[in-house]
Structures are given as structure tokens and as C-alpha cells.
């Protein structure tokens, strides 16, 4: 690996560390006034960081970050006003209090958003509504809390400045020292968030952004992760708010205003969405821009220029400044995705596979049955699943066949919990999971591959498998061992570092199946796994499904009758949402009624 490549890999640590040092060095030379203004840019950067966590990484554009920022600011300042006389030091009160209150309010809002499973637009709007509500209420909210007088629109004044010393003699710092403190706090928050987002937590958050459904199918409780991420971001926003209070000595309801709320996404966009450090770059660039445009030059059309800059940014610099730099840099680096085409052949080794499955039995218990009784699902006038009662047991594979629109995929999705049935029940290993969330079923041992391959495109092939393996084992080393085994079985060792999105459709199918294997599921649902595969691959797939079926309940939806025949399993024909016929493939092939429904004839029906 070249030096440039190594540097690129750790750019998120090296450059921010350098920037921190540069800022600290600059503090020694810049005049107090610039230090004062630059402190606000750092604070806004921190606020931007909180949005980048939930938007750039979590995928939810929250317009509620200024709400947590304001709440943290108010709460932290009120605590500081009342407690500062005890210690002299103000930050030990305001910062933890602000962060805690920000986290708490974010958790409350996040609980509503994520546990109601809101659509992305609705979630954005709800967060916006929350901010607006605070704005309306805070204008006339007057209350005295100890020494702190919250005075409605006139705001809360008398907030102690940044005091780091202790005791009664401790005094508030001057502008340059405040700048240094703000830079240190921001750096600490950044590196903490960066560490969190580089680890497993961050990877799960990334997966949720890319494909929340798949993440949940892998057995991660998506809602809890989202909530935790939202709360962490709320804490960062609250921290920024408390720091803002100490910097300005004053807070007022405009902190909740629409203008403030909309500035935060701009910081993040300008810097580069999802980069974390970009939020700071954006805040500094926008701050400097409005400083030099609107600063001395009276009547400067700052608003107009900012509006136009925003439009141009969205149109032409979609990934922000850091994104653009990254793209330039990447051009000089070797392309790992070039290896996508050098794929080896798939070779399923039943013994290795059985090893994993047996090992899984030790942890998760023996194979489980899947049963549905009178399962019923409708979409308006269409009833894709019409009172299906079936039981599936481990031993040999089950195939679901039927013409297009027979309800095969819908039945599978109703079993998986992706569709909530209107009536009937689903049992996994005798446990009723009808109302349970997808993740609950995944934990019961269900593994699902949907019709369209679902892979995490931005992650590497190996990481895709690792995510699945880690979900089951919760052990990094074990997950690495399993994912490597599956990787070699898929013949993709050379693609380990390739991004999944660079793979062909067929390769993505295999990767998706590989992820299901990493789960070592007790019940497996595969929707058209053979689609887009070569004949050789289909043979391997057949070996795989038959091996799986010996250790788990395996159900396959397929159109490829030759493949279904090689499975030597039990076949169920669905038609118009109902079980139409059952038996082995040979018997069904001779059934004229089955032929009729496939051909759309009505002779024997």
C-alpha cells in the first residue's frame, strides 16, 4: 500500500488532528476579535457534526438539530448560572448538562420517529415541526429557575462565560483562550464521534442508511441503533448549545428559528455530507464568507449571495468541498473495484458449510419449523396471500412455485414480517411471531434473501459478510473467521476489498446468499436465488440449498423448474394467493391443472 493510500485511509484522523494543531497554533497569532468570531464557527461546526451523524451517516435529514442545540443551550446555561458560584468553573456544569438534555430530548423525538417507523420525508417534517413548536412556545415562555431568568423573547442573559479555573478567584477567559477551549472541545467531540462511527456501531448505522430492511433482516435492531445514534447526535448538539451559551453569554428563542434550522444542513452540504469533518469545513467557509461579505461592507447582499451559493452547491458540488477533494485524490489511487471482474468460480463445500451450521446449532439451538395458519394479506382489492395454512419442517427443501402474481413473494414477505398480515398467524419453532418485528424473527433464527439482491453497496464484499456474521456471533474474531470461510466458498477472495455495488447482478445474488449463510439461520427463505446464475452456479446453489435443508427449514421460491427438480424437495403450487397443489415435482408436472394456471388456460380449473 502506497503512502498516499495509507494517508487517504486515515484522512479522517490525520487531517483533523493537523487542523486542530493549526488552529491552536493560530490562536497564538490571530487578533482577539478574529478568535472571538472563529469560536462561533467552531461551535456551528459542532452543531453541523451532530447533523452529519444523523443525516450523512444515519440517512435522516433532521431539521431538529437546532432544537436540541437550543434546549441544550438553555438547560446547560440555567444549570451553569445556578451552580457556577459553587465551583467557579462553569463548563463542568453547562457542558454535561447541555449534552445530557440534548440527548434526552433527541431520544424522545427519535423514539417517536423511529418506533412509529416514519417515512423519511415525514421524519424530516416532524423534526422541523418540533423546532417550530419550540420557537412558538419559547417566545413567550418566562420562568425563573433559581438565579436564571428565562425571559421569553428577551432571552436568557447573564450566562457565565468560559471559566476553566476553580474557586472564587476564577475568572472568565478572554476571546483567544475561549477559542482554544472551543477547539479542544470540538476536537474531542469529533474524535469521539469519529471513533464511534469507525467501529461496529458506525458500520451498522451505515448499513441502515444504505438498506434499513436488509440490516433488520440480518438481525440488527434498526430502531434501537437509530435511536442511539439520534441521541448521540442530540448530545453533540446540546454540547454545542451549552458552549454557545457560554460564548455569547446570552441565549434567545431565535436559536429555534427557521433560519437557524436551515443553516445547519448548509454547513454539512458545503463541507461534504457523511464526512463528519466536513461540518467544520462548511461552518468555517460559510462563517468566513458571511464575515467578509457582510462584515464591514454595509448593505452587502449576504442573504442573496448565500441563497445563490446554496443553489450552486446543490447543483454542482453535490459532495461538498471534502467530497470533491476526495474524488480528486481517489483518481490517483489504485482502484480496488477493478478486481470485481476477476471473480473465481463458486464452489460450495458442504463440509465447511455444515461445520458452520453445526456450530450455529450449538449456539442457537436446533433447526426450527415454520408454520402459518390462515395467513391473510391484502392490498386494497388484491389479496396476494389468502388464508394459507402450511407447515415447513427441516429435512428437505421446500419449493414454492406458481405463475407471476400467484403470491409467492408476498407469502414469503408476510412470513418474514416485511408485510404485516391482516389475519392469521406465523410460528417459528412453535413461537408465535405474527406481530413481531422483522428483527425479532431474525433473532429467532430466520434468514431471508429477497427477490432483488440486497447488498450494502458502499461496503466491501468482506464487510458485507462480516456484518451478517457479527450479527449472529457478536464476536469480532469469530465473525471474521466465518466471513472468510464463506468468502472463499463464494470464490470471491480477490474481491474482498471490492465495493459490493461494483459487483455484477449475479455476484450480488451470491453475496446476498453468502450473507444469509453467515447468519446460519434456523429457517431460510430464499426468493428466486437462481435468477441470473449460470448453469454451473445453479448446480452449486442446489448443493447449498440441500445442505442447508439438512440443518434448517429451507423454503425457496423459484421459476427455474430444472433447479426445483434438482432440489428433490417438496413442492407447493400457489395460485391467486391460495395453495393450489402440492407434491413432488414429477407428480405436479403431470398435473394438467398446474399446467393450466401456468399457461393461463381454463380447461381444467
Amino acid at each position: 500500500m502506497s503512502l498516499s493510500e495509507k494517508l487517504h485511509r486515515s484522512a479522517g484522523l490525520v487531517f483533523p488532528a493537523l487542523a486542530t494543531l493549526a488552529a491552536l497554533a493560530a490562536a497564538a497569532v490571530i487578533d482577539p476579535y478574529l478568535a472571538y468570531v472563529a469560536t462561533s464557527w467552531v461551535i456551528f461546526g459542532l452543531l453541523g457534526l451532530s447533523l452529519d451523524l444523523v443525516w450523512g451517516r444515519g440517512g435522516l435529514l433532521s431539521l431538529g438539530q437546532t432544537a436540541f442545540y437550543g434546549l441544550g443551550g438553555y438547560f446547560g446555561s440555567v444549570v451553569a448560572i445556578n451552580m457556577v458560584t459553587l465551583t467557579g468553573n462553569s463548563l463542568i456544569w453547562s457542558l454535561p448538562a447541555g449534552a445530557a438534555f440534548g440527548a434526552l430530548s433527541a431520544a424522545l423525538l427519535g423514539w417517536i420517529i423511529f418506533f412509529a417507523r416514519m417515512g423519511p420525508l415525514q421524519a424530516t417534517i416532524l423534526s422541523y415541526t418540533f423546532t417550530l413548536l419550540l420557537w412558538s412556545v419559547s417566545q413567550s415562555f418566562s420562568m425563573n429557575v433559581g438565579d436564571a431568568a428565562i425571559g421569553g423573547d428577551n432571552g436568557l442573559s447573564g450566562i457565565p462565560g468560559v471559566v476553566v479555573g476553580f474557586g472564587t478567584a476564577a475568572e472568565a477567559l478572554g476571546p483567544t483562550e475561549v477559542f482554544v477551549v472551543a477547539v479542544l472541545i470540538a476536537a474531542a467531540a469529533y474524535f469521539l464521534c469519529s471513533w464511534l462511527m469507525r467501529g461496529t456501531f458506525g458500520r451498522v448505522i451505515d448499513c441502515i442508511r444504505i438498506d434499513a430492511q436488509k440490516t433488520e433482516l440480518l438481525g440488527y435492531d434498526v430502531r434501537r441503533y437509530q435511536l442511539a445514534n439520534f441521541a448521540v447526535a442530540g448530545a453533540v448538539a446540546g454540547l454545542a448549545g451549552a458552549l454557545f451559551g457560554a460564548w455569547a453569554n446570552y441565549i434567545n428563542p431565535t436559536i429555534f428559528s427557521v433560519q437557524e434550522a436551515m443553516l445547519v444542513p448548509i454547513y454539512v452540504l458545503v463541507g461534504g455530507l457523511g464526512t463528519l469533518a466536513g461540518a467544520f469545513v462548511g461552518a468555517i467557509v460559510i462563517g468566513a464568507l458571511s464575515f467578509y461579505l457582510g462584515g464591514g461592507a454595509v448593505g452587502g447582499q449576504t442573504t442573496l449571495i448565500l441563497g445563490v451559493v446554496l443553489i450552486l452547491l446543490v447543483l454542482f458540488l453535490r459532495n461538498g468541498l471534502l467530497g470533491a477533494l476526495d474524488a480528486l485524490w481517489r483518481r490517483t489511487l489504485p482502484d480496488h473495484n477493478a478486481a470485481a471482474r476477476e471473480t473465481g468460480s463458486v464452489a460450495i463445500d458442504p463440509t465447511v458449510l455444515e461445520g458452520i451450521l453445526v456450530e450455529a446449532t450449538g449456539r442457537a439451538g436446533p433447526a426450527k419449523s415454520l408454520a402459518t395458519s390462515d395467513l391473510y394479506k391484502r392490498f386494497g382489492g388484491v389479496i396476494p396471500v389468502d388464508k394459507v395454512t402450511r407447515e415447513f419442517n427441516p429435512g428437505r427443501p421446500y419449493s414454492l412455485i406458481g405463475p407471476n402474481g400467484a403470491g409467492k413473494s408476498s407469502y414469503l414477505k408476510a412470513c418474514a414480517g416485511i408485510y404485516q398480515p391482516e389475519a392469521g398467524s406465523v410460528l417459528i419453532g412453535g413461537t408465535d411471531v405474527t406481530g413481531a418485528a422483522v428483527v425479532e424473527r431474525a433473532r429467532q433464527g430466520m434468514g431471508v434473501k429477497n427477490q432483488k439482491p440486497q447488498v450494502f453497496g458502499e461496503l466491501t464484499v468482506l464487510d458485507n459478510l462480516w456484518m451478517a456474521a457479527f450479527s449472529r456471533t457478536r464476536d469480532k474474531a469469530a465473525a471474521a473467521a466465518i466471513s472468510h470461510k464463506i468468502l472463499s466458498m463464494l470464490g470471491m477472495e480477490r474481491q474482498a476489498a471490492v465495493q459490493a455495488s461494483a459487483l455484477s447482478h449475479g455476484q450480488q445474488q451470491w453475496l446476498d446468499i453468502g450473507m444469509v449463510l453467515c447468519l446460519a439461520p434456523r429457517v431460510v427463505l430464499l426468493d428466486e436465488p437462481a435468477a441470473g446464475m449460470t448453469n454451473e452456479e445453479t448446480c452449486e446453489l442446489s448443493v447449498l440449498v440441500r445442505t442447508l435443508a439438512r440443518h434448517a427449514t429451507a423454503i425457496v421460491v423459484e421459476h427455474d423448474m430444472e433447479f426445483v427438480r434438482t432440489l428433490e424437495g417438496h413442492v407447493t403450487v400457489l395460485h391467486q394467493g391460495k395453495v393450489f397443489a402440492e407434491g413432488d415435482i414429477a407428480a405436479l408436472r403431470g398435473d394438467d391443472r398446474v399446467l393450466d394456471i401456468y399457461l393461463g388456460r381454463r380447461e381444467h380449473v
Partner: protein, 288 residues
């Protein structure tokens, strides 16, 4: 509570809801048919209001100033679609940010061109008496205007070739493309119509809301929440949401304080989004 007060409250709440619907319908059309949230909608309203104001100041009767405002906003809307919106299809949040940029730019332009205060055109001085109460007539007239606007949009979307093409283009874009519907031209027209409706709202509401550069902001937040609460069946949904939220807020304000009306609006919005995470019409079979 006296009966005449109750009647007055109901009637004026209906008029408040109608005003909200008039201000919202353009946004609903653009969102429903293009999946685009136009945050500059309020500024198109403002452009409509200023156009109508300028035209009346030159001696044109108010009733004729309205179509001029519609044409002006349609033209600007078409231009914006071609220059900005078209490049951002399928990027909902990017479109929101770009249109927000547009809104602050338009706002500042309005300050530069028109200054901060312009004379209003006044409200037609006729009123309706119910028992001991009298109500300004013009806002009540808006109930009829809202109904006509709604009917017009419904007719446009369900009975005209354009409307069918537009709905086809959003529902099955590939198919629409395959049968020769040029979705980009349809989209330009849709966006332009949405902006025209905003311009219409600004003009027709001018006697109630005087033209100021910041007038768009007062409307757009509630219009925006109304459309999102409405969900996928935009026209019927927006009508219901406007009546429920706007009318409800007005009734709350009549019996409690004005601020509680606003709080009602925001809280019910939050509650509805909680109960209907993708809008109140998510499970409906209707088309518009």
C-alpha cells in the same frame, strides 16, 4: 355559548381553512405529481402578490390583475424548473435545499426591488352579519374560491390529456416514457402550474395579506406541513388536512388564545405523523 357566535366561528374557521388550502394547493400539485417539495412556494406566492399589486397600481382592475400574476409566476416557475429542478430529480432533499436557497434569494430580490413597505390594496368593504356578529365578506368569499380552485385542479388532473400524462409520468415513469410521454416537458408544465397556483393564491389573497417580502414565510410552513400530513393522495388529502389543521387551529384560537391555535396546528401535525407515518392518505385507493 350563543348560537350566533358558534355559527360565526364555524364559518370563519372554514374560511381560514380555505385560505390555507388556496395557499397550499400549488405545493400539493408539485409534490403529488413530481415528488418535489418546493420550499420557494411561499416566495412564488409573494411574486404573485407583488405582480398583482404592481398591475393594479397601474390602473388595471384587481380581477384582471389575478391572471397576470398567474402568468408571471408560471413563467418564472417554468424557468426555475428548467434551470434547477430538472437537474435534481429523485433527490428530494437536495431539491428542498436548492429551493430554500431560491426562496432566500427571491426574498432579498423583493426587498431590493420593492423595498420593505408597499401600499396595500385594501379589503373590499362588505360584511356579513350573523346575529350580533359581523364578518368581513372577502375572507368568506375564499371558501368559494377554494372550492373552485380544488375543482379546477381535479378536473385538470383527471379529465385532460395533460393531467393523465402527468399522473402516468409519476406513477410508472418507464412505461410513460415507453409510450411516448415526454416526462421532462410534462414536469416543466406541472411545476409551472404549481407556481401559477401559488401566484394565484398570492394575488387572490392580496386584500387579506398585504404584499411584503416576508409574506411567503408566514404561509409556507403551514402549507408545507399540510401537504406532508396529506400524504400520497395529495389533492383530497390536502383538502382534508387543510380543513382539519387550518380550521381546527382557527376554532382553537377562537375559544382559547391565538397562540394555542398555532400550538394546536403543530401538535396535531406531530400526532398525525405519528399515527400515519407516511401521511393520512397512505392506504387510500383514490388517485388525486
Amino acid at each position: 355559548m350563543e348560537l350566533d357566535y358558534l355559527a360565526t366561528v364555524l364559518l370563519s374557521s372554514l374560511s381560514s381553512a380555505s385560505i390555507l388550502l388556496i395557499a397550499t394547493i400549488g405545493l400539493a400539485v408539485v409534490f403529488g405529481l413530481m415528488g418535489v417539495i418546493n420550499l420557494a412556494h411561499g416566495e412564488f406566492l409573494m411574486i404573485g402578490a407583488y405582480t398583482a399589486l404592481t398591475v393594479t397600481q397601474h390602473g388595471v382592475p384587481f380581477i384582471l390583475a389575478i391572471p397576470v400574476a398567474v402568468l408571471a409566476t408560471m413563467a418564472i416557475g417554468a424557468l426555475v424548473e428548467v434551470l434547477i429542478i430538472r437537474r435534481l430529480y429523485g433527490r428530494l432533499f437536495d431539491t428542498m435545499l436548492a429551493t430554500w436557497g431560491l426562496s432566500i434569494a427571491f426574498y432579498q430580490l423583493a426587498v431590493l426591488i420593492f423595498g420593505t413597505v408597499s401600499p396595500g390594496i385594501g379589503m373590499p368593504q362588505f360584511s356579513l352579519r350573523i346575529g350580533g356578529y359581523s364578518l368581513a365578506g372577502y375572507p368568506l368569499l375564499m371558501i368559494g374560491v377554494a372550492a373552485l380552485t380544488g375543482a379546477f385542479v381535479y378536473f385538470l388532473m383527471t379529465r385532460t390529456v395533460y393531467g393523465m400524462k402527468a399522473r402516468a409520468a409519476i406513477q410508472v415513469p418507464e412505461m410513460a416514457q415507453a409510450i411516448g410521454i415526454e416526462s421532462s416537458r410534462i414536469n416543466t408544465l406541472t411545476f409551472s402550474i404549481g407556481c401559477g397556483l401559488a401566484g394565484f393564491a398570492g394575488a387572490v389573497l392580496l386584500p387579506i395579506v398585504p404584499a411584503t417580502p416576508s409574506m411567503g414565510f408566514a404561509f409556507v410552513v403551514k402549507a408545507f406541513l399540510t401537504v406532508v400530513v396529506a400524504g400520497p393522495v395529495t389533492l383530497t388529502g390536502s383538502t382534508l388536512a387543510a380543513i382539519g389543521l387550518g380550521g381546527g387551529a382557527s376554532i382553537t384560537a377562537s375559544f382559547l388564545t391565538s397562540v394555542s391555535g398555532d400550538v394546536f396546528f403543530f401538535l396535531v401535525t406531530a400526532l398525525l405523523l405519528w399515527l400515519y407515518p407516511v401521511g393520512i392518505t397512505a392506504r387510500w385507493q383514490r388517485k388525486m
